[in-house]
Symmetry: C2
Subunit: 274 residues, 2 copies
């Protein structure tokens, strides 16, 4: 979905020539050819030798391996980027695999909420009006960073630059932590002795609050572990507010509780219109 949507959007924008697809699932690759997402399925080594721009849409855990396979075939003008949800670990893997060619790798993260996978889920409009965050390395040349930026802009995305650590902290806050809290809460409800009664009586608030808990356990586990440090830091901050709220309830401190709820309600109502 991530790679196929990128290819489809660039093709629609007239910003791409021949598209090569790499993957472990031969059936998915054949389907991607049938759907016109890619022109040809090749190996990682071939892709490295024949491409001008490479988007790595592999999980972080597999990145180092595929980059290592590509390295011997890379020439100086090839630009690589990725689509991973966390950036510090990606940068570390890229440095370890690419060595003094790491300047050819421009880390990126398209923020597109969909959780589907596979070529059938590819959509040329997936990135339209979405944010893409680049976390350029000191080694990246302006020309290489611009190439990646223009590609994402060609997909219709708004592109901003951030420091990798800041990216990971912000994403831990607005994406990863909500998922963790929603899943933790859902697990507690589902394992209660009277879970059946609870779930029967749950309404629209519950529905919205727990929607993200249905997401892929494997994908989120990988994200949480990849972004461990930022997750733990954000969680500690949220626990601080939770402690305050709990104390206010226990003490019957109406004013403190109202202030906290009021700050939250105002911030949520002021958030960009949906």
């Amino acid at each position: 979905m991530i790679g196929g949507s990128f290819a489809a959007a660039l093709r629609q924008a007239g910003q791409v020539g021949r598209v090569l697809g790499v993957g472990r699932n031969a059936q998915s690759l054949a389907r991607a050819v049938d759907l016109g997402l890619i022109d040809e399925a090749v190996t990682a080594e071939e892709a490295a030798a024949r491409s001008a721009l490479i988007l790595l849409a592999t999980p972080v855990g597999g990145l180092k391996d595929v980059l290592s396979r590509m390295l011997p075939h890379l020439t100086d003008g090839v630009v690589l980027t990725d689509a991973g949800s966390t950036k510090a670990e990606v940068v570390e893997a890229a440095r370890a695999a690419l060595g003094n060619r790491v300047g050819q790798f421009v880390p990126g993260h398209p923020i597109a909420g969909a959780e589907r996978t596979g070529p059938e889920a590819a959509d040329a409009g997936l990135y339209r009006k979405r944010m893409v965050i680049l976390t350029p390395l000191p080694e990246n040349s302006a020309a290489f960073t611009d190439l990646v930026r223009r590609a994402w802009q060609g997909c219709g995305a708004d592109v901003i630059d951030m420091d990798a650590a800041a990216h990971d902290r912000v994403l831990a806050s607005v994406s990863h932590l909500p998922h963790l809290l929603s899943a933790v809460y859902m697990e507690q409800v589902a394992t209660a002795a009277d879970a059946r009664t609870r779930l029967d009586l749950a309404g629209t608030g519950f529905r919205d609050f727990t929607r993200i808990a249905a997401g892929s356990p494997e994908m989120w586990r990988d994200i949480f572990l990849s972004n461990r440090e930022a997750m733990l830091a954000e969680l500690a901050d949220v626990r601080g507010v939770l402690d305050r709220a709990e104390r206010a309830i226990a003490d019957g401190d109406s004013d403190a509780l109202l202030t906290l709820l009021d700050t939250a309600a105002r911030a949520r109502r002021d958030w960009r219109k949906e």
Copy 2:
């Protein structure tokens, strides 16, 4: 909204004669007459003297006072019920105010998610296919409980009976705690030094997870304090799961984390279709 919707639904069902409205806001009462929700605005004392069935849609904090005003005017056949979100405190207030007439009070809770107020928000369909929980007292006669049950059924609701303490615990779990967690999280994001960046990068998961945090701070403060004991008990249980999740992330315990996320995802996917 709560009282007006009840009146409108019963009128539509042909289950009501003359409808009397009581309230502190003269303008709202006049509007309720204009809208045909009530036939006449009266005092609490008059309502007590002239009604067969009385629905108290006041906040829990005001319940004891209005019941005390009604008491001298109540005759033996009058049935009272309420619409409060918590039941233990309501039962306590009713006992304190009504004394040996408490058997005429059948505690109830219509679970209708809307957060609007006032006669304009009244809707004859508000309770259709929604749950109403009654928490009958030992003093309630079967005839009185049935009268309240049939009224809610006339509004199109499914009515079930529960113990008041069980009700408060389940509602703390599936309604009050999600609101608290969503608000606590939202407060933490909104007061972060880089709140602007965070809110700009927040997406659809954030949107769903925080939607309930926009709810009325006053209403939710009252609910949390009214349901203090059950809230603290549920929160302790959720903290137990959160501790487990945090430890798994800190220790890089992939299996424990996956098990937790998997339990949550399965439970959410199996939840009744939306």
